[in-house]
C-alpha cells in the first residue's frame, strides 16, 4: 500500500480517489482516451476494453431499436469506430461490451432517462443551438411540496429565469411542464434541456421570461433516486386513482408555486404542457379545470376528449392549443384523434407534425417551438 500512496501524493490530489483501473492508467501516464471525438463531420467513439471479445455501439440516432455498430480492437486494446456525424442534435449512446450495456467512461456528460444513465453526444448546428448554455442563465431549484391528496411529501423542480432574483418586483407567468411514464421531476432538465432551451429563447427575445415547474407525475412516487422514500401503490392506470395526480397538480402544486414564487396567478399566465403520459395529464387537467390554463400543449399524447369538453375549453377562452407529434410515434393515431375532436368542437389549434417517433429529440424541439408562443 505504501508505494501507491507515494505515487498519489507525489502526483496530484485529484487522483486521490481513483479506483484500481484508473489508478493504473493514471500512474503510468497512459494517453487519455478521447471519446466521443467530433471532427470534420465525423464522430469517433473509443473504449478501452482489455479482454472483450465484442464491443458495439448503440446510439439514439439509429433508426431501429436493434441497430448497432461494431467497434474494432486497436492498439492497447482501445476499440474504436468512426461514423459520419448524424444531424445536429443531442443524442445518447452506450457501448455493449460482451453483451453488457456500458456508458462511455471517457465522457463525463450523461443524461438519466428513467432508470438508465446514457452518455451524451452533441452535434452542433442550428437545431441544437438552444440546447447549449446561454450567456444568461436561470436558476434551477429542487424543493418539496406537501400533497394531502396523495398523502405524500413530494419533490419538484422549478426553473426561474435569469433576472428573477434581481427584478424583485417582477411577476412571472408559469409553464407547468410534465414528463412521461418512466420519467420523473428531473426528466425535463436532464433529457429535455428545458433550462437551456428557456435560457436561450429568453435571451434571444423569442420567449417571455417565465417560470417552469416540473413536478413528479408518478402519483405514488415521492421523488426520483432516493435511498429511502418508498413509492406508494398508486397506479395511474388504475381507474380507482383516476386523476389523483392531476388533482394534486391543479389544487396543490399550482397554489404552492403561486405562494412561493412571484407569479401572475391568472389563467392567461398559466400554461400546461406534457409528453406522453404527461400529455395525458395535460389533457385531463385542461378538461377537469378548463378555467385554469390558457395555454395547453399535449406532446406525443393520446387522450380522450369529448366534443362537449372541447366546447367548454373554448368557452373558457383558451388562447393557445398546440399539439406536437411525430409520424412514427406509436401515439400518432391518438394525436390525430385529438386533432379531430378539437376541430369538431370548433377550438382553434395548431397540430405540429414532424418525422420521428416517441423520442426526446422531438420533445426538446416541441418545447423550443411552443415556448415561443406562450403568454403572448
Amino acid at each position: 500500500m505504501k508505494k501507491i500512496f507515494t505515487i498519489l501524493a507525489a502526483a496530484t490530489l485529484a487522483a486521490a480517489s481513483l479506483n484500481a483501473q484508473e489508478l493504473t492508467n493514471f500512474a503510468f501516464g497512459r494517453k487519455p482516451i478521447i471519446s466521443p471525438e467530433v471532427k470534420n463531420d465525423s464522430v469517433t467513439f473509443r473504449l478501452k476494453a482489455d479482454y472483450a471479445t465484442q464491443v458495439s455501439l448503440y446510439g439514439s440516432w439509429m433508426p431501429g431499436y436493434f441497430d448497432k455498430i461494431d467497434l474494432k480492437r486497436g492498439e492497447n486494446n482501445v476499440w474504436s469506430v468512426k461514423i459520419a456525424a448524424p444531424d445536429p442534435e443531442i443524442y445518447t449512446y452506450n457501448f455493449i461490451v460482451d453483451g453488457t450495456a456500458v456508458s462511455d467512461p471517457n465522457n463525463v456528460l450523461m443524461q438519466r432517462d428513467g432508470t438508465r444513465y446514457l452518455s451524451m453526444l452533441l452535434i452542433d448546428g442550428e437545431r441544437s443551438e438552444n440546447y447549449k448554455e446561454a450567456n444568461q442563465r436561470g436558476t434551477v431549484t429542487h424543493m418539496w411540496y406537501d400533497s394531502n391528496i396523495l398523502g405524500l411529501n413530494r419533490r419538484l423542480t422549478v426553473y426561474t429565469p435569469y433576472g428573477y432574483e434581481t427584478n424583485k418586483k417582477a411577476k412571472y407567468p408559469v409553464l407547468y411542464l410534465l414528463h412521461g411514464a418512466g420519467g420523473d421531476e428531473e426528466a425535463w432538465t436532464s433529457m429535455g434541456r428545458a433550462a437551456q432551451i428557456l435560457d436561450n429563447l429568453i435571451e434571444k427575445g423569442l420567449a417571455k421570461p417565465m417560470i417552469v415547474v416540473m413536478p413528479n407525475g408518478n402519483p405514488g412516487q415521492q421523488a426520483a433516486c432516493t435511498l429511502n422514500l418508498p413509492a406508494k401503490d398508486i397506479n395511474w392506470r388504475d381507474p380507482a386513482f383516476a386523476n389523483v395526480y392531476v388533482k394534486s397538480l391543479c389544487e396543490e402544486i399550482v397554489p404552492f408555486i403561486e405562494k412561493n414564487f412571484r407569479v401572475n396567478a391568472k389563467p392567461e399566465s398559466r400554461a400546461i404542457a406534457g409528453l406522453s403520459m404527461g400529455g395525458g395529464h395535460t389533457i385531463s387537467a385542461s378538461t377537469l379545470y378548463p378555467e385554469l390554463f390558457d395555454y395547453i400543449c399535449p406532446l406525443s399524447a393520446a387522450g380522450g376528449m369529448t366534443v362537449d369538453q372541447v366546447k367548454a375549453l373554448k368557452k373558457a377562452g383558451v388562447k393557445l392549443y398546440w399539439i406536437g407529434c411525430g409520424k412514427a410515434d406509436f401515439l400518432f393515431e391518438g394525436s390525430n384523434k385529438l386533432d379531430a375532436v378539437l376541430t369538431e368542437g370548433g377550438l382553434e389549434h395548431t397540430y405540429f407534425v414532424n418525422e420521428g417517433g416517441h423520442v426526446w429529440y422531438n420533445w426538446r424541439q416541441y418545447l423550443n417551438i411552443f415556448a415561443q408562443l406562450l403568454f403572448k
Copy 2:
C-alpha cells in the same frame, strides 16, 4: 419494425424508449435482476453479461486500491457474488466486465465523483442514518454568480433548510462548504449527502437551521458537466493565480449570498469548511480574511499557516476551529502540522482523528459531526 411497435403499444408507455437489450428483456418477460440485494447481513451483486469471460466487482469498502472480487456465471448468464455486508455506510462500487468498468445497470442510485459515475450501496445503521432522507427536507438550488475576479459566470449550489420559504422573516447563518480537487459544485450534494445530513441534524434539533453554500472551487471552471462552457486556464497550483478563487469566494460569493438570501451577515453567522483542496481554500480564506468566518473546519487538509496568522485568527475571535483527518490519509502529516501550529499560536481547536483515508465516508462523517457545533 411494426412488430416491435405493436409489442410496445400493447404493453406500457414506460417502455417506449427502451434500447435493444432492455426491449428484449422487457418484451419477453424476463425476471428483473435485483442488484444490489441487501439481506440478513449479506449483499448480493448481480449482472447479466451474456458473452463475458470475466466479471468482477470493486467496492469502496475494500481496503486496497487493487482489490476486487470475482463474480460467478449463473443461469441465463447472470453473474453474481454474495458478500458479508460491510459496516453501515454509503459505499460506491462498479463491475469490471472483461476489463471495462461498468456501473450496475439494475441500480438507479448513482453518485458522480468528478468524472466517474458510481453505483451506490447503502448499508443501514446508526452511522448511515443521517445520509437518508429526513421527514422535513430543505431546498437545493443551482444558480449562477458573476465573478469579476475570475472573469466568469459560475454555477453554485445552495441548500436552504426546511421552513426557509415559510418563515419569511427568519434570517439564517451560512456554512460555505468546499469540495476537493476533482470535485465541483455538485460534489457535496452527490457524494457528500450534505442536504440529507443537514436535514436530519436540523430535524433532530442537533444542528441550527442554516444555509449551506457549495461553490465550484476550480477557479477556471464555470460549471460541471456543461456542453459548451469551456474552462479557463487558471491552475490553482500556479502561484500566479494564488488565492484568486479564495478572493472570489470571500469578496464575491459571500456578498452574492448575503444579497440573495435571508442571511445574518455577521462573522458569528458564517462558517467555512472544506475537504482536501477545499481544506486548503478554508485555511487560505481564514488567514487572508481573519474577520470573515467565526467557524473554520479544514478536513483532510494540509495548508501552511504561520504562528502570526494563527494569532491573528485568535485575535479576530474565532469561535470554533475544527480539524478532521483520517490516520491513513496521505495528508495526515499535513493535518498534524496544522494542529501543531494552532497549538503553538495558542488557538483553541479540536483535532478529530479517525481511521481511514482520503475518502468520502470520512468527509460525510466529519460534516455530520462539526455541523452540530456551528453557530452555537
